[in-house]
C-alpha cells in the first residue's frame, strides 16, 4: 500500500510533467498520448488475439483452422444463421416502413413531437428484453391471437420484438439523415410538381436517406443476429443467438471461432458502412459550395 502511494507521484510526473522547456514539454505530451493509445489498442486487441489464438488450437500441438471447419460443417450453424438473417431482413423492412414515414412526418409537420417520439424510441434501452418477450407471450399466445401456435405466428412475434429493439438505432439514424436534407422544401417542391405522398416518400425521401437507412439497417442486423433473450423464448435454438450460446457452453474451441467469425462479420458491415458514408460525405461537402 505504502509502495503504491509513493509510486503515484512518479506516475503523475511522468504524464503531467512539471513545467520545463517547451519543446521537452511537447515531446513528453506526445509520448503520453502514444502511451494511452497503446493501452487502448492493447485493451481491445489483446482479448481478440487471445481468442483467435485459442480458436486455432483445436488440434493438439499445432495451429489449425479445425474449429472453424467444424463450425462451418455444422448444419445447425447455417440453419440458424440463415434463419436469423431472414428475421433481420424482415425486421429491417418493417422498421423502415414504420420509422421513415413517422420520422419524416414529424420533421415536416409535428416538430414539437420529436422529443417525445425520440424518448419512446429509446425505451428499449431502458426496458429489458425479457420484459418485452414475456409481455408478448402473455398477450399474443392466447385468444384471440394464438400467434405462438404456428411457427409463422411465432416468427411474426419475433420480428415484432426485434422491430422494437431496432427502434433506437433506426429512429436515430433516419432522423439524423432527415436533418441533413431540407425536408420541407423538397416536399413542397415535389408537391408543386404534382407529386403525391407515395411519390414523395419513395422517389425523394427514401433515396436521399440511403446512407442513414443503411447504417440503421446494419445496426439492426448486428443486433438481430446476436440477439439471445427474445429468440430463446420464442424460437429457442432455431435462432443464431441461442445457437452461439449453446456452442459457447459445450464446445470450447468452436465457441472461440464463432466469436471471431461474428466479430469479422460486424467489422465487415462497419467497413462497408464507412465506405458508403465516405461517398456521401464528399458529395454533400461539394454540394455546400
Amino acid at each position: 500500500m505504502a509502495a503504491a502511494m509513493s509510486f503515484l507521484p512518479n506516475l503523475r510526473n511522468l504524464f503531467f510533467p512539471p513545467a520545463s522547456s517547451q519543446a521537452k514539454d511537447r515531446g513528453s505530451k506526445r509520448g503520453a498520448s502514444w502511451f494511452w493509445m497503446a493501452v487502448g489498442v492493447l485493451y481491445f486487441v489483446l482479448p481478440l488475439v487471445a481468442t483467435f489464438d485459442f480458436s486455432l488450437r483445436a488440434r493438439k500441438g499445432v495451429l489449425s483452422f479445425l474449429a472453424y471447419e467444424r463450425v462451418f460443417k455444422d448444419p445447425a450453424f447455417w440453419k440458424t444463421f440463415i434463419f436469423s438473417l431472414e428475421m433481420a431482413f424482415f425486421t429491417i423492412l418493417v422498421s423502415l416502413l414504420l420509422v421513415v414515414p413517422t420520422a419524416y412526418w414529424i420533421r415536416l409537420r409535428l416538430p414539437k413531437l420529436r422529443v417525445i417520439v425520440e424518448f419512446i424510441s429509446m425505451l428499449p434501452f431502458v426496458i429489458p428484453a425479457i420484459v418485452l418477450v414475456f409481455g408478448f407471450i402473455r398477450v399474443f399466445s392466447g385468444a384471440p391471437f394464438f400467434l405462438t401456435n404456428t411457427s409463422f405466428g411465432t416468427n411474426v412475434l419475433l420480428v415484432a420484438g426485434y422491430t422494437v429493439l431496432a427502434l433506437p438505432y433506426m429512429f436515430r439514424a433516419v432522423d439524423t439523415g432527415l436533418a441533413a436534407i431540407d425536408v420541407r422544401s423538397l416536399t413542397e417542391a415535389a408537391q408543386s410538381l404534382g407529386a403525391g405522398w407515395g411519390t414523395i416518400l419513395f422517389k425523394i425521401i427514401f433515396p436521399n436517406l440511403r446512407v442513414a437507412i443503411l447504417s440503421g439497417a446494419f445496426l439492426t442486423l448486428a443486433t438481430v443476429i446476436g440477439e439471445f433473450t427474445i429468440a430463446s423464448f420464442l424460437v429457442g435454438i432455431n435462432a443464431f443467438g441461442p445457437y452461439m450460446s449453446l456452442i459457447g457452453q459445450n464446445k470450447t474451441y468452436e465457441s472461440s471461432s464463432l466469436a471471431i467469425i461474428s466479430f469479422m462479420l460486424t467489422w465487415a458491415f462497419m467497413g462497408l458502412l464507412q465506405f458508403l458514408n465516405r461517398g456521401q460525405a464528399s458529395s454533400s461537402l461539394a454540394g455546400a459550395h
Partner: protein, 349 residues
C-alpha cells in the same frame, strides 16, 4: 377578368395576423412582385397561392377556377425556392423531368421538354450532373427549368436570388425576366430587395406588417409613393422637420431657409409634417427655379456612379446623391456649398 385573383385574403397564425385583407388581380402574362421587409407576409401570401398554406378567409381564383382549398399538387403551379430545393438524388435532367414523370407523360415527350428547358437556361452540357456538382446560380436555373417544365399556370418565386452573390444575382435577374417574357408566363415574385422588384416587375405590391401598402408600376411606386412607408422603403428618402408651414402658399421653412413644395390636397398630413426629398434630386450649385439651400459638407462617399454627400443645414443632416462626372471634382468635407432641388421633387408627409 384577371387570370389570378386574390380576394380579401387573410391568414392568422394562432390569432396573430400574418396577412390581412390582401386583394390583388394579376393579368395573364403579368410579372408582379411582392416587396416588403422580412416578416411582412410575402412568403405566406405566396404559399397560399401555391396551396402550402390555407387562408383563414378569402378566396383565390386561378384561371376562373376557385383554388382556395385545392391541394398543392393539383394546382399546376410552378414554385422556385430560395434554397433551390433540387432533388439531390436526381440528375439535372431528371429534376427537370420530374413533374412530367409524375404526370406519367411518355418518355419521348419528357425528353423533348427537358431538352427544350435545358436550352432555355443554357445548361445543355450539364444534363447528367447532380445538383451538388453545379454552382448556386446554375442550381437555381435548374430549379426554374424544373418549375417551368410542367407548363404551370402561374410561376411563383420566393426570394430566388437571395442565396447568390451580387454579380450572379444581377445576371440571373435578367435571365428570369427574359425567360418569363419569352414564355409569357404569369409570375409572382417575392423579394425584400427593392432593386429586384423595380427592375423585374410590371407591377409591384409593397407590403408592410401583413398589409398591402401600395400596388403600382415601378415608376408609380418610386415616384408617387402613397404612404410614408412606401416612400421610405422604396429608394432612399430624406425626411426633414419643418417650421413656418404655409399650405396656401405651399411654402415652409427648413432650418430657417424658405422652401417651396407641391401639395396635393388628397394627401393626409401627419401632426408634425416633414418634408420628403429623395437624395438623387439634389444638384450642386444654385439653380434657377429650384429650392436652394446652403450648407456644409459633413461626409463624402464616393460610390462610383454617384457621390453621396451628407450635408448639414442649420443643424439638419440630409443625404444628397450627385452623379459622378469626370470633369467635376466633388466637394470636400467641411466645404460650404449651395445645393438645389426642384419644387416638384419634394412633398410633405
Amino acid at each position: 377578368m384577371a387570370f389570378l385573383t386574390l380576394t380579401d385574403i387573410s391568414k392568422y397564425f394562432g390569432g396573430v395576423a400574418a396577412v390581412e385583407r390582401f386583394n390583388l388581380d394579376v393579368e395573364k402574362g403579368e410579372f408582379v412582385s411582392f416587396l416588403g421587409p422580412s416578416g411582412c407576409g410575402k412568403t405566406t401570401t405566396l404559399r397560399m397561392i401555391a396551396g402550402f398554406e390555407l387562408p383563414s378567409s378569402g378566396t383565390i381564383l386561378l384561371d376562373s377556377e376557385d383554388v382556395t382549398y385545392k391541394a398543392p399538387n393539383q394546382r399546376n403551379v410552378g414554385m422556385v425556392f430560395q434554397s433551390y430545393a433540387l432533388f439531390p438524388n436526381l440528375t439535372v435532367g431528371q429534376n427537370i423531368g420530374f413533374g412530367l414523370q409524375v404526370r406519367k407523360e411518355n418518355e419521348a415527350v419528357i425528353k423533348a421538354r427537358v431538352d427544350e428547358m435545358l436550352g432555355l437556361i443554357h445548361l445543355e452540357q450539364h444534363q447528367n450532373k447532380y445538383p451538388y456538382q453545379l454552382s448556386g446560380g446554375q442550381q437555381q436555373r435548374v430549379a426554374l427549368a424544373r418549375a417551368l417544365a410542367i407548363q404551370p399556370r402561374v410561376l411563383l418565386l420566393d426570394e430566388p436570388l437571395s442565396a447568390l452573390d451580387a454579380k450572379i444575382r444581377v445576371e440571373l435577374r435578367l435571365e428570369i425576366r427574359r425567360i418569363q417574357q419569352a414564355l409569357g408566363i404569369t409570375t409572382v415574385y417575392v423579394t425584400h430587395d427593392q432593386e429586384e422588384a423595380l427592375s423585374l416587375s410590371d407591377r409591384v405590391v409593397v407590403m408592410s406588417q401583413g398589409r398591402m401598402e401600395q400596388v403600382g408600376t415601378p415608376f408609380e411606386i418610386y415616384n408617387y409613393p402613397r404612404t410614408q412607408f412606401v416612400a421610405q422603403f422604396v429608394g432612399q428618402l430624406n425626411l426633414l422637420p419643418i417650421t413656418g408651414l404655409d399650405l396656401a402658399a405651399e411654402t415652409c421653412l427648413l432650418a430657417g431657409q424658405t422652401v417651396q413644395f407641391e401639395h396635393h390636397q388628397s394627401r393626409q398630413l401627419s401632426e408634425a409634417p416633414r418634408l420628403a426629398i429623395r437624395p438623387e434630386e439634389f444638384r450642386l450649385g444654385a439653380l434657377e427655379g429650384c429650392n436652394v439651400l446652403s450648407g456644409r459638407v459633413e461626409t463624402v462617399m464616393f460610390l462610383g456612379a454617384v457621390v453621396r454627400l451628407r450635408v448639414e443645414v442649420g443643424g439638419l443632416l440630409f443625404s444628397a446623391d450627385l452623379f459622378n462626372e469626370r470633369n467635376i471634382t466633388p466637394p470636400r468635407v467641411g466645404e460650404q456649398i449651395e445645393i438645389s432641388f426642384p419644387v416638384h421633387a419634394c412633398w410633405l408627409t
